[in-house]
Amino acid sequence: MLGRLTEGLSARTLILLTLLLAVLLAAPFFASDYLLTVLILILYFAYVGQAWNIMMGFAGHLSLGHALYVGLGAYTAAALYVHYGIGPWIGLLVAIPIAALAGAFIGYLAFRFKVGGVYFAILTIAFAEFARVGFDHLAWTKGSSGLFLPVAQYSKNDLWHLRGQPVMFYYVLLVAVVAAFIGCRALLQSRIGYFWLAIREDEEAARSAGIDTFRYKMIAVVISAAMTSFAGVIYAFYYNNLFPEQVFHISRSIEIILGPIVGGVGTLFGPILGAFVLTGLAESLTEGLHAIGIDIPGAKQVFYGICLLFVIMALPDGVWPWVKRRLGLSERAP
C-alpha cells in the first residue's frame, strides 16, 4: 500500500513532503490562537481547491459555482442537526448524495447539450445564484435570517458532534487535505485520470479515440461536488451560522477557485500552495496595513487585487510549477 503510494516519487520529494506534513502536524502546539484560525482557513481552501481542481484542472471544465456544493453540504448537515439533533457525520452521509445529485443534474444538462467553456461556467454561476435566492425563501432553513447552530463553551472536543475548539477542526481538515491529495493523485494515475486529461486537452480527439466523454465528465463533476460538500459540513460546524447571502454568494465561488489558479491549475500541489499564498497574503496585508496605521475599508482588497494581477502576469501557469523548478523537483531540466 505504502509502496504504491510513494511510487514514482523521488527521494527529495518524499523528504520534503514528510517535512511539510510534520510541520503541519506539529503546528497547533506552537501556533497562537490567531495563527491557528489562519491555518484552518488555509486548510479549508486547500481542500475545496483540490475538489474544484478535479473539474477544471483534470477534466477541463471551468466551474464558477462551487459555492453551491459547499452551501448544500453546509445547509443539509446544519439543518439535520438543528431540527433532529442528527450529528454531522451522519449528516454528511445525506449531504454527499445531495451535492452529488446537484452536480450530476448540472453536469447532465450541460454535457447532454454540449454546453462547454464560458457557457458552462455561467451555467454553474446560475445554479449557485438560483440556490442563493431559493434558500433566502426557504423557511425550513430559516431563509435570509440565517440558520444558527447552538454554541457553548467546550471544555473537551466532541469529535462525533464536531463541537469543540478550533484545534479539532484543524486536525479534521488536515486529514481531509491529506486524503484529498492522496485520492486525487490516485485518480490522476488511474484510467479515469488519463481519460480526463485527454478530454481536457482535446475533447473531440478523446471522443474519436473511443472515450465516453459524457460519462467521464459526469464522474468528474459528481466526485468534485461530493468532495466539496464535506467542506460545507465543516464550514457549518466551524462557523455555527449560515446565511444564503454569504454561503452561496458568487464571491465564495471565486474565493474557492483563486487558490488553485494561483497555485497552478491541474497540478496536485497547486491548490495547497495557492491556499497558503493567498490566505497568507490576505492576512499579512491585514497585519501590515494595521501596523503602518492604514485603516481604510477596502485598502487591503486593493493591494490584494494588485498582487493577484502581478501573480497572474508573471506566473501564468501558477506558482507551483515555478516553485517546483526552484526546489529541483521537476522531472525535466529547468
Partner: protein, 290 residues
C-alpha cells in the same frame, strides 16, 4: 389587480430592460471580437455611475448631458485596459483571463469603496418625478429618457460596425484572427478599440442607470452577472440579441417583482438563463457555432 398596473409595470420593465440591454451590448461586443469575457463589466459600470453622481452633486451637471463625455472616459479606460493588461492574455486559457479580470474587478470595487464610502448615493434631477401619460399608461420620464438614449447609442454602434471602414476591420478580426493579421490589420489596436467601444457602452448605460437606481460600490458583481444572463439569453456576440435579452430580463424582473416577491425576481432571470442554455445554447438570436 387591474390590468393597468400590469401594463405600467411591464412598460417600466421594458424601458429599464433597454438600459440593461445597452450594458450587455458592451459585454457582447467585447466577447464577440476579443473573445474575452469581461468579468469586471458591472464594476466598470459602477465607476461610470459614480462619475455621473459626483458630477451632478458637485457641479449640477445633468447625467443625460454628461452621457457622451462619461462614455468617452470609460472608453479611454477600456482602451488602456485592453492594450496594457488583456492583450498579452488573449491566447491564454480562460481561467487565466478570468483571474486577470477578477483582479481588476476587486481593485475597482475597493477603490470606489475607499473614495466614496459604502453609503448609497443617487442623482436627484429636477425631472425625477415627471411622467408622461399616454391613455391609461403612466411612464416615468427618467426611464423613458434613459431607454431612448440607450436605443440611440445602440443604433450608433450598429451603424459604426456596419458602415464604417474601421467597423468592418473590427468585424474582420472577429471573423478570422489569422486572416486579419495576413491582410495587415493592426489586430491589437483594433482589439483595444473594441474594448474601448464596449466600455463606452457600459459607461453610457451606467450614467442612465444612475438616474434609476441608487449607487453603492458593491453593485458591480450583481450587474456583471446580469450582463452575462442577458447576453447569453440574447446570444453572445449578437448586437440585437443583447437588446432583446435586456428587454426580456427587464420585463421578467418587473413582472416577477409584481406577481411574487421582489426579492425573488432574479430567480426568474436565472431560470430563463438555464432554459436558454439548455435548449438554445447559442442564445435566442445567436448564430450556431460548431
Amino acid at each position: 389587480m387591474p390590468f393597468d398596473i400590469y401594463l405600467n409595470v411591464a412598460v417600466g420593465g421594458i424601458l429599464t430592460g433597454l438600459v440593461y440591454g445597452l450594458m450587455a451590448l458592451g459585454l457582447s461586443v467585447i466577447f464577440g471580437v476579443v473573445r474575452v469575457v469581461n468579468f469586471a463589466h458591472g464594476e466598470m459600470m459602477t465607476v461610470a455611475m459614480y462619475i455621473a453622481v459626483t458630477l451632478f452633486s458637485a457641479f449640477h451637471l445633468d447625467p443625460l448631458v454628461m452621457l457622451v463625455p462619461i462614455a468617452a472616459v470609460l472608453g479611454v479606460f477600456g482602451y488602456a485596459l485592453q492594450a496594457g493588461l488583456i492583450n498579452p492574455f488573449i491566447t491564454r486559457p480562460e481561467h487565466s483571463q478570468f483571474l486577470l479580470l477578477v483582479a481588476v474587478a476587486i481593485i475597482l470595487v475597493n477603490v470606489l469603496l475607499i473614495v466614496f464610502g459604502p453609503d448609497a448615493k443617487n442623482v436627484q434631477v429636477s425631472y425625477a418625478y415627471d411622467s408622461f401619460q399616454i391613455g391609461p399608461l403612466i411612464v416615468d420620464a427618467t426611464k423613458a429618457y434613459a431607454a431612448l438614449a440607450a436605443l440611440v447609442v445602440a443604433a450608433a454602434l450598429f451603424c459604426f460596425f456596419q458602415y464604417t471602414t474601421l467597423g468592418t476591420a473590427i468585424r474582420a478580426c472577429a471573423d478570422n484572427y489569422t486572416g486579419a493579421l495576413v491582410v495587415g490589420l493592426d489586430v491589437k489596436h483594433l482589439y483595444a478599440l473594441t474594448f474601448a467601444l464596449g466600455s463606452a457602452c457600459v459607461g453610457a448605460a451606467g450614467v442612465m442607470l444612475a438616474l434609476i437606481v441608487d449607487v453603492t460600490p458593491s453593485l458591480g458583481p450583481a450587474y456583471t452577472l446580469l450582463a452575462f444572463i442577458i447576453v447569453i439569453t440574447g446570444g453572445l456576440g449578437s448586437m440585437p440579441g443583447a437588446l432583446l435579452g435586456g428587454v426580456m430580463i427587464g420585463l421578467t424582473e418587473a413582472l416577477a417583482g409584481l406577481l411574487f416577491t421582489p426579492s425573488a425576481k432574479s430567480m426568474f432571470s436565472f431560470a430563463i438563463l438555464v432554459l436558454v442554455l439548455l435548449f438554445r445554447p447559442q442564445g435566442i438570436l445567436g448564430k450556431k457555432v460548431a
